[in-house]
């Protein structure tokens, strides 16, 4: 079955007046038999607790409205009640698939307000873990969204490698998910012995595993028929809708914060940013696959280049003193007590820090009044923004394609609803 490459549309497809709602045209409402159905919030092929209200003309989606908020937990409000360092574990629990990217953005924003220097070892280790996390997130995405389209095998293969990544996280931080390994000023603990060999082993396995997934899907005629030319999004529409990450790169926008605004150790490692032109589900899939390969390349380089030295800044007003000093130094004991009970204080001011999370630009806006608790914490969630593109991507798609479209936008509802 030969499927020609899809052509991206001319002009804009963003619905008007509301950019996120497709309204049924009045003449169609009169002439056709419109069926309104409720899809979600709990449905086996729905990506998390998302609810879509659809108007169908036969099998074609002619009206669409997304309803979110089923997973709203008030993270931002809760974090205002916690001291800065006790608020850190909240961040990874929003996007439970790319937890370390969230943690990283929050910690980096606090560090920016504090003006604290992070030692190079911590910077490199953060880079490494952020990339492992990207692999993890893309694997979960691949497994679940292929599953939604009826391909069950990639799910098992992807979760096999995902487990290896989680083993690495467990080795480093003691927890498989929500590691809370990034501490203000560096890392919570030194890199454990045995991490490097196990991580190298993973780097050898992973590229072959990506080849395996691609062997199952890339040339598969069913997969191609379900994804090529489906869910088109042009570059101009993607920018107008604030799309970032793989969704933007699948639409031909060569944009990656790791290159555009280099942070961590990204300027010192060599990697490419995969960009595809067609803006359909297939291209988003290809971008995800290529990004996994690039991430493994970055992980390999960070393993080689990992600098020696301390893993956390030596600033006793912010960083907990080393454990062993507590038994011998009164000063350290006091610092430990003060930081744990009162928390450290952060100078007055506001910052916005963005990192390239697996889903795109993950931003953290912080406002401090100079006290031990954040005045305001705000997260720019890429999933929340990506979901807004659903209506534009749908065009006049079939209801079965809708599942492919929503899946390809790679949203995690925990992050959408926060």
């Amino acid at each position: 079955m030969a499927i020609s490459a899809p052509r991206i549309y001319e002009g804009t497809r963003i619905p008007s007046p509301v950019p996120t709602i497709i309204e049924v045209p009045e003449e169609l409402r009169r002439s056709a038999d419109i069926l309104e159905i409720n899809f979600g919030p709990n449905h086996p092929s729905m990506h998390g607790v998302l609810r879509l209200v659809l108007q169908l003309d036969g099998e074609t989606v002619v009206g669409l409205k997304a309803i979110i908020g089923y997973l709203h937990t008030g993270f931002e409000k809760s974090m205002e009640q916690k001291t800065w360092w006790k608020a850190i574990p909240y961040a990874p629990r929003m996007d439970y698939v790319s937890f370390q990217a969230n943690e990283l953005a929050f910690v980096m924003a606090i560090e920016k307000l504090l003006g604290i220097d992070v030692p190079p070892k911590a910077i490199w280790m953060r880079t490494l873990l952020a990339e492992l996390n990207r692999v993890h997130s893309h694997l979960v995405w691949l497994g679940t969204s292929a599953l939604e389209l009826g391909a069950i095998s990639p799910f098992w293969y992807a979760f096999r490698e995902r487990d290896r990544v989680l083993d690495l996280f467990e080795l480093v931080a003691g927890a498989r998910m929500h590691t809370r390994y990034f501490q203000v000023g560096g890392l919570a603990e030194d890199i454990p012995r045995g991490f490097f060999p196990q991580c190298r082993e993973f780097c050898e396995v992973m590229p072959k595993a990506v080849d395996e997934y691609e062997a199952m899907l890339t040339e598969n005629p069913i997969w191609q028929a379900r994804t090529k030319g489906v869910g088109l999004l042009s570059a101009a529409d993607a920018i107008a809708l604030g799309q970032s990450g793989p969704v933007a790169r699948g639409s031909g926008i060569d944009w990656d914060l790791r290159k555009a605004e280099p942070y961590l150790a990204y300027p010192d490692v060599d990697f490419d940013v995969p960009v595809r032109e067609n803006g359909d589900v297939y291209d988003r899939y290809k971008v995800h696959m290529d990004e996994m390969r690039e991430s493994v390349r970055i992980v390999e380089q960070t393993l080689e280049g990992m600098p020696p030295g301390p893993w956390i800044a030596d600033d006793r007003k912010v960083v907990l003193p080393p454990r062993e000093e507590l038994h011998t130094s009164m000063e350290s004991l006091i610092h430990h007590f003060k930081i744990v009970t009162e928390g450290f204080t952060v100078p007055e001011g506001e910052v916005y820090v963005a990192v390239e999370s697996p889903r795109g630009e993950f931003g953290c806006y912080l406002c401090s009044d100079g006290g031990p608790r954040p005045w305001r914490v705000r997260f720019r969630a890429p999933s929340f923004v990506a979901l807004q593109a659903t209506a534009t991507c749908m065009g006049q798609a079939l209801v079965a394609d809708m599942v492919a479209v929503v899946g390809s936008l790679d949203t995690v509802m925990g992050e959408v609803d926060r």
Binding site: V18, L113, G115, L241, D254, T345, Y352, E361, G371, F384
Partner: protein, 183 residues
Amino acid sequence: MYESVPGVIETREAHGETTLVVDPARLIEACLHLRDRLDFNFLSDLSSVDYLGWGEEPVAGYWGNATGRDLNAPGTAALPRTPDPKPKRFAVNYHLLRVAPGAGDARRVRVQIWLDDGEAAPSVIQVWPTADWHEREVWDMMGIPFEGHPNLVRILMEDDWEGHPLRKDYPIGGEPVRFSDEV
């Protein structure tokens, strides 16, 4: 480069970030100028802050300065200090970004408007369609209305929810609890 932006009241530089405080009445004009003349084609984030109670109590913290903290300088730690007063209760922040190769270092700018309770902000949905859900979220969470938004309804909370949870006067645990023996 921001002198030509219409409606700018104040320009601030802190932590390497530029903030343009803009007159709310001229926000759309300023945003269109930033988008079309200065290439800020991408609205990263739109969020709000409630400053109710800000600076009422001195905060025991250190000052900090632009380069970071100097632990050896006297008076940088643990002395109470009142944060700088804010002009109005609410601030709405628009974080803009230039998505274009070779845009240089000045990629981001924060546009800020100040509003009192009940004052409406002009909707920028016509400038950046991505503002749609962001503005709904600000309305839902902070209760700041957006004039000209075609679909300003709650987004995260239920439609019949009372109050705006992220306001400082909204208590944590403010959700009414219903017990099984209640009729």
